[in-house]
Every structure is written in structure tokens, then in C-alpha cells.
């Protein structure tokens, strides 16, 4: 579980890292397992409960891996958002 870290600086969080890839893999796994797990569990199939638990564990791991990074990146971006909005307005103008 060395892939989790809490001490992201905003600058570091802007970069794409292995944490993003891990979050995507865990996220896809969670989607798959919870979808088939819900169906299987409602039909009282043992594999359904196993899949459902696996899906929930995947969600928790995904959150653990990616949330500190998302927080750091979001906070820094939010501070500059108004300035960026003016830039977007200027860049996308038809008269530009």
C-alpha cells in the first residue's frame, strides 16, 4: 500500500502519476463488481456477495489512493479560477 500518500503539494498534484492509473483501475473494478454483485446478491448467490464486498473494498481503496491528490489539485485551481475564466472568455471570443 505504498501507493497512497497524503502530502501532495498543488504542483505535484497537477502531474499525472501512477495514482491516477490505480484510481482508474480500481474504479472500473468497483463498477463491474458492484453491478454484477448487486444482481447476484439479490438472487442470494454466494458469488454475488463476494463480488459486492470486492466492489465496496475497491471503492474504499480508490478513494484512499486518489482523494488526497484531488484535494490538493482542486484547492489550487479554485484559487485561480476567476482569472482563468477571464482568459477563457478572451480566448474563445469570435472577435478574438
Amino acid at each position: 500500500m505504498a501507493r497512497s500518500r497524503k502530502d501532495w503539494s498543488p504542483d505535484q498534484a497537477d502531474e499525472w502519476t501512477i495514482h491516477d492509473l490505480l484510481a482508474c483501475i480500481l474504479s472500473v473494478l468497483a463498477y463491474m463488481l458492484v453491478a454484477i454483485g448487486t444482481a447476484g446478491a439479490l438472487l442470494l448467490q454466494a458469488w454475488g456477495f463476494v463480488a459486492l464486498i470486492g466492489g465496496i473494498v475497491s471503492v474504499v481503496l480508490m478513494y484512499w489512493v486518489i482523494d488526497p491528490k484531488l484535494r490538493a489539485m482542486s484547492a489550487a485551481f479554485a484559487k485561480r479560477q476567476d482569472e482563468f475564466l477571464k482568459h477563457v472568455d478572451k480566448t474563445t471570443r469570435w472577435e478574438h
Binding site: V28, M32, V34, A35, L42, L43, L44, L70, A76, A78
Partner: protein, 539 residues
């Protein structure tokens, strides 16, 4: 209170559920009227200040349209539990949440058409923006007409109403709060509609399972019928081969890297930008897709319950209404109205989203961008309301004239999905992919999809291919056009690309642009030293 010629008989309690629900929805428009009229950004994005759970509920509500129960019932009845993979396309949200959603939210584009202006430069970018704005305005009106027509059919089926009554009444009620409060009305009513729809869908599913004798009885009956393979989500045979599963899986998951490769991307892009922060945007997309798949997980055993109760239906039109039958034929007296309110919730959430979204493209990308760039906020809100009204009228006219359109709608969606699936990813991950490449992919896709799906099989040039083979054939044929076009035309303006890169920080092959940004001092090399948004030096 009963209806002649009606399939369903409503009691006073049933009507009470429906009337209370409609009044609550209209109240949304009244309560949020003042917020919606403040500016274009408020009318279309709720001021970009929503916590993740509000747009997440809206995403779930939008992913649940009036025809969704029929479509999912159809694939599960036909294919068993493995039919879940046809519904798995919403898993694009699982990858997008951490890739394309993040990039799109950081771009701050109000719409996907506006994003084309940020990502690309020059004439090609303007052509793309105009094309996408026009296409989306029309597609939203088309979807509105189609969903309203479906509600007209539901009204006829349940109550014996003339077709136009169901078509116009509920869509017009929805327009009240969309016209008055804009996206604020959409998102607040979507929250209530999402919760109501989720509860009612799961309630009816559980009731259906109970009516079939419970989970164990369903499994036993499937075994007796020799249909126990229907319990296996990974059962592959000639009817559903492994390559088909892999295509559906790849389309959904890898598709999450791109922007605009699914029809759902466009409403979700609006929700992404309405989220308060990048983190809220990521979680809203992730949770919206996640709840949708949980809903599908409830639907599957209920439809298997319907299958063991009625195993010999061969006509798709009959088994596709299976889930509705579970609700209307088996729910206890007094709950039918709540079920109908749940169906209304599904309907209104789709209508409100597409009314506001169509008006967004017509207002922001056509009127504000091309016709009146100096429009005041007051003018923009007035035009937004006018466009909402015009979409409403257009959807009524189109809805009342269309009869059998499902096939056309599927084809229209297919047009968008197949040939531009890869280009929609490339425009996110590859700096060299330019506006001419993307534009040529759209045009080639329009031509190729007609050829592959309709014309060539009709003349016996190629056999009628299964959908997954059509998908890959279209992807390959369209690539024969956009790859040379991209490489034979100039890259986008480097200054423009650098500005986009510094702000959105896209993933993938952006090496030359990144190096240029470092050279210009906008970012610095190395993970720890990257300044990104911190310096704001992009003007």
C-alpha cells in the same frame, strides 16, 4: 376516479401522489427563479458552485430516460444476466472521473463546443464549434421529441388518453421550471426526481422478485426451464461471443479517456462544469455512473423474475414492457400512483436536462459566440429563455409527426459513437491531432456509417454485420480519412496549445507542447517543480 379504456385504474390516493409530485417540481422553478436569471452562467451552470452530490444525482436521473426500463428489460430478457454488458457503457464515467472530467473541468469551457475553441485554433476550430453547436441543438430537440412521444405512448397505454395529451402535458409542465429557473430548476428537481426514481425503481424490482416467489424460487425455476446460464454474466456463445463483450467493455472504459465519444458526454459536460471544484466534478461523474450501475443491478433480478413468470414471450415489444407490467399489475392498491410518479420523475429529468442543454448550445455557442458577442447578461438570459421555448415548440412539432423513430434514434446515436470514438480520445491525449482531423472524422463517419450499416449490406457488397463488427469496421474506415488529414495539415498554433496545456494539463502525448511551455517559463520541468495553475501566467 377511473378512466374508461384504461389499463390502470387510479384511486384517489394514486392521484394524490401524482399531483403532489408535480406541484413540488413546479415549486422548484418558483423558488430558484431569482438565482436562474442572474447571468448566463447561473442559467446554464448554476454559477459553477454545486457540491458533487447534486450533479451526481442529476447524472443518475439523466441516465434514466423514459425508454431505459424497456431497453434494459429487452436485453436482460433476451440475453440473461450477461445483458448487463450492454448497459455497461455508463462505465465511461469510471475512467472519465479521473481523466477527461478533470481535464474538461480545468478547461472551464461552458460547453463541449466551446472546448473545441480552447483545444484547437483557427478556422477549423470555429467550424467545429459551429458544427457541434448546431448538431447538439438539433439532437437535444430530437431527444426531447422522442422522449415526449414515448410519454404520449405511455399515456395511451395506461389511461387510454389521445397520444398528444401525454406528449404535451408533462413536457409542458417541465418547461415551467426550466424556463423560469434554468439549470437551477433542472438540478434541484433532478435531485428530487433522482431520489424518487431510485426508490421506486428498486421498490418495484423487489416487489417483482417477491411476486415471482423470491430469489431462490427464481433460481430454481431457471434451472427447471434449462435456462440457468441466464445467471452467468460471463456466459459467451454464438449469440453473444467474447469479442462482443470485449468491444462493449473497451468502448466503455477506454472511452472514458475521451470527450464527446458518447451522447451522454454532452449533458454530463454541463454537470462537470457546474461542480464547485475539480474534485467535486470528478466525484459527481463517478458517483452518477456508479448509482446507475447499482440501479441496473436491481433491474436484472427483477427482469429474470419476469422471465420465469412469462418465459415464452418471443415478440420484443411484449417482453420490453415486462418491468412496467411488474409495477402496474402487481403493486398493491395506492402504490400505482407512486409508481407513476416515479415514471414521471424519469421523464421530467430527461426533458428538463435536454431543454436546458439545447438552449445552452443555441445561446452560448450560436447566439453569444457568433451573433452578439457583446450581449449583456440580461440579454443572454432572455435569449436563453427564448431558445428554451423554441426547443419546446420544436419538440412538440417533431414529436407529433414522428411515429416509428426508435430505429432512427439508434442510428443517430450510432453515427456519433462508432467512427468518432477514437478521434474523440485522440483530441484529448495527442497534441498533434488537429481540428481538421476531427472535422474530417465527423464527415467521414456520417458517410461511412450509412454505407456500413445500410447501403453496402442492402446491395450485398458486405454481409449484415453484428454491431460490434460494424463498430470496428467503422473505426478503421474513418481512420483511413482522419489520420492522413491530420498529418497532411498543419498542427494547431503552438501558443494556443501551450495556453490550453498550462490550464487543462491534458494526459498523453503532449511532449512538444510541454517543452514549449517550460521554455516560455509557464511551467517548470520535474514533478515537484511544476507550477501549473500556481502562477497563472497564461495571458
Amino acid at each position: 376516479m377511473t378512466q374508461d379504456l384504461a389499463l390502470v385504474t387510479f384511486t384517489a390516493l394514486d392521484w394524490l401522489w401524482v399531483i403532489v409530485f408535480i406541484l413540488v417540481m413546479i415549486a422548484c422553478g418558483v423558488i430558484f427563479y431569482r438565482l436562474g436569471k442572474r447571468s448566463e452562467s447561473e442559467f446554464f451552470l448554476a454559477g459553477r458552485g454545486l457540491p458533487w452530490w447534486l450533479p451526481a444525482t442529476s447524472i443518475y436521473a439523466t441516465h434514466t430516460a423514459t425508454d431505459t426500463p424497456m431497453w434494459i428489460t429487452g436485453v436482460i430478457y433476451k440475453y440473461g444476466m450477461r445483458g448487463i454488458w450492454f448497459t455497461f457503457f455508463c462505465a465511461w464515467c469510471s475512467v472519465s472521473a479521473f481523466i477527461s472530467t478533470r481535464i474538461f473541468r480545468r478547461s472551464l469551457a461552458m460547453s463541449q463546443a466551446e472546448w473545441q475553441n480552447l483545444r484547437y485554433s483557427g478556422l477549423g476550430s470555429e467550424l467545429l464549434r459551429g458544427w457541434l453547436a448546431g448538431w447538439q441543438t438539433f439532437m437535444n430537440m430530437f431527444v426531447l421529441a422522442w422522449v415526449s412521444a414515448a410519454m404520449g405512448k405511455v399515456g395511451t397505454y395506461l389511461f387510454g388518453w389521445p397520444h398528444w395529451v401525454g406528449l404535451i402535458t408533462f413536457t409542458a409542465i417541465c418547461a415551467i421550471y426550466v424556463l423560469s429557473a434554468g439549470y437551477w430548476g433542472v438540478i434541484m428537481s433532478d435531485f428530487q426526481q433522482g431520489v424518487i426514481a431510485f426508490i421506486m425503481i428498486n421498490l418495484v424490482c423487489c416487489w417483482g422478485i417477491y411476486e415471482a416467489g423470491g430469489p431462490t424460487a427464481i433460481v430454481d425455476k431457471l434451472q427447471v426451464l434449462g435456462q440457468s446460464w441466464r445467471l452467468n454474466p460471463f456466459h459467451f456463445d454464438e449469440e453473444f461471443p467474447l469479442p462482443w463483450f470485449l468491444t462493449l467493455f473497451l468502448m466503455a472504459t477506454v472511452g472514458g479517456l475521451g470527450m464527446g465519444n458518447f451522447i451522454d458526454w454532452y449533458p454530463e459536460a454541463q454537470r462537470i462544469q457546474s461542480a464547485k471544484t475539480v474534485r467535486d466534478a470528478s466525484y459527481c461523474i463517478w458517483a452518477g455512473g456508479f448509482i446507475t450501475l447499482i440501479r441496473n443491478g436491481f433491474w436484472i433480478p427483477a427482469i429474470l423474475a419476469f422471465y420465469v413468470m412469462f418465459p415464452n414471450i418471443t415478440a420484443s415489444k411484449q417482453y420490453e414492457v415486462g418491468w412496467f407490467r411488474l409495477g402496474f399489475e402487481y403493486l398493491p392498491v395506492g402504490m400505482i400512483g407512486a409508481f407513476f410518479a416515479g415514471i414521471l420523475a424519469i421523464h421530467l429529468s430527461t426533458i428538463s436536462s435536454h431543454l436546458n442543454l439545447g438552449a445552452l448550445y443555441a445561446t452560448r455557442d450560436l447566439y453569444h459566440h457568433y451573433i452578439n458577442p457583446k450581449a449583456t447578461e440580461r440579454q443572454l438570459v432572455q435569449v436563453a429563455r427564448l431558445n428554451t421555448f423554441l426547443l419546446l415548440i420544436g419538440c412538440f412539432v417533431l414529436g407529433l409527426t414522428m411515429r416509428s423513430i426508435t430505429e432512427w434514434l439508434i442510428f443517430a446515436l450510432w453515427l456519433q459513437a462508432a467512427g468518432i470514438w477514437i478521434p474523440s480520445i485522440l483530441q484529448v491525449v495527442w497534441w498533434r491531432f488537429n481540428s481538421w482531423g476531427y472535422l474530417s472524422a465527423w464527415i467521414a463517419n456520417l458517410v461511412m456509417s450509412w454505407l456500413v450499416v445500410w447501403v453496402l449490406p442492402a446491395y450485398g457488397v458486405i454481409p449484415k454485420l453484428p454491431e460490434y463488427q460494424q463498430f470496428w469496421l467503422l473505426a478503421a474506415l474513418v481512420a483511413l480519412v482522419y489520420v492522413p488529414v491530420t498529418l497532411l495539415t498543419k498542427p494547431d498554433d503552438m501558443k494556443h496549445l501551450v495556453q490550453y496545456y498550462v490550464m487543462a494539463r491534458p494526459l498523453g502525448w503532449w511532449g512538444p507542447v510541454r517543452r514549449e511551455a517550460i521554455q516560455r517559463g509557464l511551467i517548470t520541468a520535474g514533478e515537484a517543480a511544476s507550477r501549473g495553475v500556481g502562477n497563472g501566467a497564461i495571458a
